[in-house]
Symmetry: C3
Subunit: 461 residues, 3 copies
Amino acid sequence: MSGHATNLRLKLPAICFLLQLFTIILFAVFVRYDGETSARLWHQELSHHNKSNRDNDFYFRYPSFQDVHTMIFIGFGFLMTFLKRYGFGSVAFNFLIAAFAIQWSTLIQGFFHSFHDGKIHIGIESMINADFCSGAVLISFGAVLGKTSPVQLLLMALFEVTLFGINEFVLLSVIGAKDAGGSMTIHTFGAYFGLMVSRVLYRPQLDKSRQREGSVYHSDLFAMIGTIYLWLFWPSFNSAITAHGDDQQRTVMNTYFSLAASTLATFATSALVNGEGKLDMVHIQNAALAGGVVVGTSGEMMLTPFGAMIAGFLAGLVSTLGFKFLTPILDSRLKIQDTCGVHNLHGMPGVLGALLGALVAALATQDVYGDGMADVFPLIADGSRTATYQGTCQFFALLITLGFAVVGGSLVGATLKIRSLGSPPDTQCFEDQIYWEVPEDHQGGYLTAVNSEDPERSASV
Amino acid sequence: MSGHATNLRLKLPAICFLLQLFTIILFAVFVRYDGETSARLWHQELSHHNKSNRDNDFYFRYPSFQDVHTMIFIGFGFLMTFLKRYGFGSVAFNFLIAAFAIQWSTLIQGFFHSFHDGKIHIGIESMINADFCSGAVLISFGAVLGKTSPVQLLLMALFEVTLFGINEFVLLSVIGAKDAGGSMTIHTFGAYFGLMVSRVLYRPQLDKSRQREGSVYHSDLFAMIGTIYLWLFWPSFNSAITAHGDDQQRTVMNTYFSLAASTLATFATSALVNGEGKLDMVHIQNAALAGGVVVGTSGEMMLTPFGAMIAGFLAGLVSTLGFKFLTPILDSRLKIQDTCGVHNLHGMPGVLGALLGALVAALATQDVYGDGMADVFPLIADGSRTATYQGTCQFFALLITLGFAVVGGSLVGATLKIRSLGSPPDTQCFEDQIYWEVPEDHQGGYLTAVNSEDPERSASV
Amino acid sequence: MSGHATNLRLKLPAICFLLQLFTIILFAVFVRYDGETSARLWHQELSHHNKSNRDNDFYFRYPSFQDVHTMIFIGFGFLMTFLKRYGFGSVAFNFLIAAFAIQWSTLIQGFFHSFHDGKIHIGIESMINADFCSGAVLISFGAVLGKTSPVQLLLMALFEVTLFGINEFVLLSVIGAKDAGGSMTIHTFGAYFGLMVSRVLYRPQLDKSRQREGSVYHSDLFAMIGTIYLWLFWPSFNSAITAHGDDQQRTVMNTYFSLAASTLATFATSALVNGEGKLDMVHIQNAALAGGVVVGTSGEMMLTPFGAMIAGFLAGLVSTLGFKFLTPILDSRLKIQDTCGVHNLHGMPGVLGALLGALVAALATQDVYGDGMADVFPLIADGSRTATYQGTCQFFALLITLGFAVVGGSLVGATLKIRSLGSPPDTQCFEDQIYWEVPEDHQGGYLTAVNSEDPERSASV
């Protein structure tokens, strides 16, 4: 019976075909190459404005774009393969929903940010923003990993991308907040949205699948591929859409040092909170990355290298403590089952990063920024607001983001409860075999994991 | 007896040393730094032509080159590690033949494209082209994976690179066809060449090794590393040698959307054709990439984003159906044993991509391309041919490529049948142990796989 | 008792917190954004010197930086996961010590190279140099892999980074040697430093852990991820800090061909020295990379492509022979237990590379370099020394490096012998379980590996 309900033979093709067809039609009607991508327009630009190909934004941003792209598909995808029996679902559902989200967010973000003359005009920056948006969806995916069908995940992406676009528009265009690396728009939003979805989809009987919730030795190594790539390319993530020149370089540098400090804090704290002083791979895989999240807003500002280090250090500390002490409480008290601990990696460090951004913005002075003020805080530079007011706006941007995430996540979670979406039964969570043809060596473990009392067999991969 | 024949102790060193020595001599005689790589020449350029270091082509192409390089060595290499007992051979023979092919193709392509004053002049673009050519060889490798010795593979590379160079010269320089991402020169050529080699090397007794032709759980995850990297960096592949500016950016964008759409098509079709609605990793690992192949020719053209999506969607669909329905027929009827299904990933999508390129070329208008026409279709821009004629040339380029591939592959296949090249016996295909020192945990499975009737043991890794 | 000594609960947090705190304080006092990273300073530059954002060094170096970053954290990290039971320690201790080393070396190198007006000014080039320095530490780590605690490793990093900075200052600033890719400063220094540490920490009873010193099938594939990334991005490594323009392009090209040739030499030699003609993964994983090391000094020079190939070929040959014949002798005769064989990959090829650099420098002529001489050999270009003298300086730079490495490694090794640093007992080397919480599937093997006579169990992972 449950086997029938999780059969995706019609549901998954139907939703994939429909979403793709709908997207293609909307692209045909609305989406056009922008002035740097179109053969005709760019060559007009070249001849009329004395530009050279070097000035094409492509060359400023493509290396960063490819790093971000790697983070989305390799970084997030492999980070989640830590589960012993959910490697296929982790990396491949990540692949599927990101491949959809980048298309859908090109439309949504395009309507809000690059809609002129009835058309959306896209180029390298919209591709980066599309990848960013899919990052938020993948963060939410982490909270519900192993407990949702790909049909549910595609629906979640559809709604979340839309809400993401609205929230981002409010923050950046209405309030004039700065958030180049997305401490608020991506991390805080993605995390609390996902946590609310997970809350609504709470499974009281999840204990029936707990024996599959851990890792095996090699699945932890696969996860480290994801971790390290996220860590490596986070400087590109935070700097990908900042202004050219000093802004990109400074954002890279701040992120680089923040991450380094959060790594030391994570190792230190992981050993400290363990009874035998042993390190825990879950902490290393996740909390070491908190340094990237925490400077997502302030990375482009004059944070100073040592400021970045302090931020990263605190983020690594808080994140590791979260994994140790908070995750169990979220589960038992708040009924939030957070498979990947996104609250620790994206939630708390995202909120910290938003607060840090508000603080650093409020401290901005002409003396420190010089003529560079116009790139970082255009509204301060042109005299339309003070630094203090900018900081206040940053703070309210955080509150708005939390509001959108919590309300949106609750509503979307309720939608995903619809019975026919192929959700796995409580006994078959964190298990590839219900959605995948699996090799022989994976099959035995599944049956015994579900049916027998033998804990060793369930761990044999 | 068979053990003796596959002993590579003299054969492999002999061919490696000879090929490397011969290459070094030819490089010493013929190959020189080009005007942007030589200290003297570039500094002449700087002072005489008022250039800056920024104008060095290196900065336009190096990021793309590194992405292509990653695709060749990580992408192809790990994609093929899906086999449960051939991971070493997959990634390492891939490494070996690509390391040779990039050297050899620098010579062959150099003679055809950058031979002046008795010397070949090389720079960043020739490195990209050398990597491209090795890509074609690795596609062919996919068709014969697990059934050939490294000595055979090096010989195949030697001949295939040479034929590749001739075919490419005819297409690009004689006929004036466009094929920046290689739908024809790389994918169609590499696939049908490899399929013909596989046809000539047909093994009626391959059933004796079928128990090793599948995957294990973790080998499928290793393969996904290859898949995702190929997918991520395909935009760089297709754009790496297009003209600067809008051309590179547009090619990236078209490929990005084509791949996204082919991913959704692949997931949809994979579930649809499976009796229980389960997804098949073989499809995800391969068919999701067909979107990159199918815009290899047309990616630099004004394909439009939604055009790219339609192309990618169809490619993913056709490719998945190919894996499900065509591969078994190729094997049973046409006696083509295509280990990696390169016909589905590179063959059919390559042909589709060539046809699409012909169509889009035939539809080119001055109105759409403006002054950018000279970059994409120089022969249309200078009035020496019409768009329709360009399209016709593109179509004939496909036929010529198929001719070169089929005839060349047959002849090379026949050459590789020479007995003393260390080919594995039918009972030891898809098995690392005949060419590699393997760790203890790998050895047991090998013996039982060959000698016993127990299918479970053969799967134990 | 031994369990108590290796308990890191207080030691690791203490050293991490102390080092990080100390670093943050020094950064706060001394480290500032440089003129291209600071908002105020770069915008002054833009307006006063008629520059454009394009001229920011960031765009010349960031793609190379990210490749180097990948080599340090993915390349070195995964290369060392070949050990069957030390994958966590390999990739994660690599992560920890590199995260510390990049911070510490920013200070040390900053004091020597960019200290003005009482402040260290940092930008993209200092980030690359910091990564380079951590590369040297990771090479040393390879020599002591599995036999040291993370506390020891952090102390080693602290001292080694400091010595690295002094040696580099003497070579580059005092003697005027050239070493852009670090054949001397990174590879020779890192290798002989690590070998001396290993010598001082010699364990006569290491046989008690030998059963864990090998690989399993999948751990060899994880290691290949490291190998291929190191191989791919070595051209970026050697070119990352060379002069703009032809220099970066030429260094990339030389390294590319050197690596290709060393790969063929490695496969050839590996088969040749094996009794059954079988290839050895240890050789492929390591010796194929020697081509990158050997052109570390000469890569930016007018080495010619065929010169690079000859160098790479010899390096691959020597390195493979080293693994086969020299490593056992180092262990038995010289009491140097070199876990990863860094003497073969970094030591000998580094020395060869230094000698090659001296030779190519001595042969430099105005005729070949033209106005580019000023970029490669500024002291020859301005007439303050002859090419022969430059070559001589290069040679003495090698001797000085060996001196620093041997003396420094001995002293630091002696320091690391302090009892309370958590070093593993002889019976528990190459074993993750003493420092890590490990998954169930890893635990059984550990106990049996230590306690039983059954060799099969110890190999089961």
